[in-house]
Amino acid sequence: MLAFTVRRLGQFLATLIAASLVVFLALEVLPGDAAQILLGVEATEETLAALRRQLGLDEPAMSRYVAWIAGLATGELGTSHIYGTPIAEMLGDRLAISLPLAALAFAISTAIALPLGVFAATRRGRLGDWLVIGFAQIGLAAPNFWFGVLLILIFAVTLGWFASGGFPGWEAGFWPALQALLLPALALALSEAAILARVVRSAMLETLGEDYIRTARAKGLSGRRVLFGHALRNAMIPVATILGLQFAFLVMGAVIVENVFYLPGVGRLLLQAIFQRDLVVVRDLVLLLSGFVILVNLLVDLAYGAIDPRPRPAA
């Protein structure tokens, strides 16, 4: 396990460095001149030269890359070209919305999918199973941004139970803030719940066919005890892997859903930064989000190694 952990950590660092190089090359080297992109084609040479000096673009690419990475390592994310605000400060405010949103969607999707998956597995081939399979197919096919729009139509426009978008801020109180996050979280959770329910169902079906389940039943254990004490516990190994990966996908899905509900989270900041050509913000946010995906993959692999005692197959 130790050798595996060390090797996996090495791969994590290598992938992270490669990702940072891709982002740097894409945003700072390939376009040629970020100052030109910011000021447009009609800018004068003097203005361009002044902006290049201000942004440090007159430095060699290698030293700019090293300065960027050193800044990230020490929490210095630079300053937004458009707002003149430190990016770390902007990010802190936005994460206070995006992370609770992803966590709430994660909790909702797990709360829907686990019982549905177990229920379907125990009723294989019967009406209940088909209904769950149908729900999963619809959940996989309905885009989260459309589901979000439908939720607004039903719960905000027709019933008037929720606001159609926006965020009052955590300072407005826990309940109003949570209320603003509930519909976006539901929109995000549907497709994740659909995927997870399918995984839980097939993992449970596989486990319920194992010899030790028959032995447990033969010993006279109650159906409930066999289901939750033996089958579900073992079926959780593949489910745990998917749960981890889903959190990464939820954060990515939030980029779109935040824009449906006008939530001022990281996703909305990223989109605003693109349309305002705020390349420094785009650079930092893209690396942070891809770094998050790489980190989640690492944690899932390590957790999988820890909870599944069977030897890992060679790559």
Binding site: V157, I256, L271, N297
Partner: protein, 289 residues
């Protein structure tokens, strides 16, 4: 006279036809492809036919699904949107199959060698950038556009197909007929093309239907955000974004484009599931996007 034994492929497809997923998914997929093909030659109204008098009109005989905020026929836009989705999906899946699958096959044939490691680490890197992030990177530099969506989804598909092809090819390469082919002097390339590739075609075809569905969702999502297809080219995602503005007064506007996306993706998913069950229920596929 009926043959006593059906050829395996025919028998499998016959089994597939009995599978409800295969039949329903196949019908929805044919409907989507048919709509895309029809839009190439004919739409009920011109897709750029702005009509101020029909602005936000409710469904009627003249406009069966109503008209949008420019007075354009929604049915015509949906048909043309199918064309956009199918085009993006075909190119993105084609990139995955054409580039990713051969890379995965090469990695499997050179398992454990530097080429395998290089392809493996490159796919790891690509997986760190979901299509939304790649599209963001491209749009930040070159501005939004349909090409962004195609490139972003296509790059991700290359990694998906490389990984799936490698996994499937490793399983086939361990079978006795491959060792027999090597024993009679076939080169590694000949073994890969003649013996391994045909045996992983099934899993690649099933993966292609899944990735086609994922590509349609991704294109719609990127166009919804304004990073993908740009006006006046119709896109289901863009239609939905426009409809959201008029959601309070004309809620139906937001229903039809979403329904089109859902039915197209549902059809491909069901078709892929049915195909997988018909070819081999144990096939391992990925669902990433």
């Amino acid at each position: 006279m009926r043959p006593l034994l059906r050829p395996p492929t025919r028998a499998r497809l016959a089994r597939g036809r009995r599978h409800p997923s295969f039949a329903i998914g196949g019908a929805l997929t044919i409907l989507m492809l048919g709509a895309a093909a029809l839009a190439a030659v004919w739409t009920p109204h011109p897709i750029d036919g702005v009509d101020p008098l029909a602005r936000l009109a409710a469904p009627s005989l003249a406009h069966p699904l109503g008209a949008d905020h420019f007075g354009r026929d929604v049915l015509s836009l949906i048909l043309a949107g199918a064309q956009t989705s199918v085009t993006v999906g075909l190119i993105a899946v084609g990139l995955g199959l054409g580039v990713g699958a051969p890379l995965g096959l090469a990695a499997a044939m050179r398992r454990g060698r530097p080429l395998d490691a290089a392809i493996g680490r490159t796919t790891d890197l690509i997986f760190a950038f979901p299509a939304v992030l790649t599209a963001v990177l491209i749009a930040a530099v070159y501005g939004p556009g349909a090409i962004n969506a195609i490139v972003a989804i296509g790059i991700f598909n290359i990694a998906v197909f490389a990984r799936v092809a490698r996994g499937a090819a490793i399983g086939v390469a361990a079978r006795p007929f491959v060792a027999a082919a090597a024993a009679i002097g076939r080169t590694r390339a000949q073994i890969a093309v003649i013996h391994v590739a045909p045996n992983i075609a099934g899993v690649l075809i099933v993966q292609a239907t899944i990735q086609f569905a994922v590509a349609i969702l991704a294109e719609a999502g990127l166009s919804y955000l304004g990073l993908g297809v740009q006006p006046p080219q119709p896109s289901w995602g863009k239609m939905l974004a426009d409809a959201q503005t008029y959601m309070f007064s004309h809620p139906l506007q937001a229903v039809f484009p979403g329904l089109a996306i859902m039915l197209a993706v549902l059809g491909l998913n069901l078709f892929g599931d049915g195909l997988r069950d018909a070819l081999d229920p144990r096939l391992k596929t990925l669902r990433l996007g």
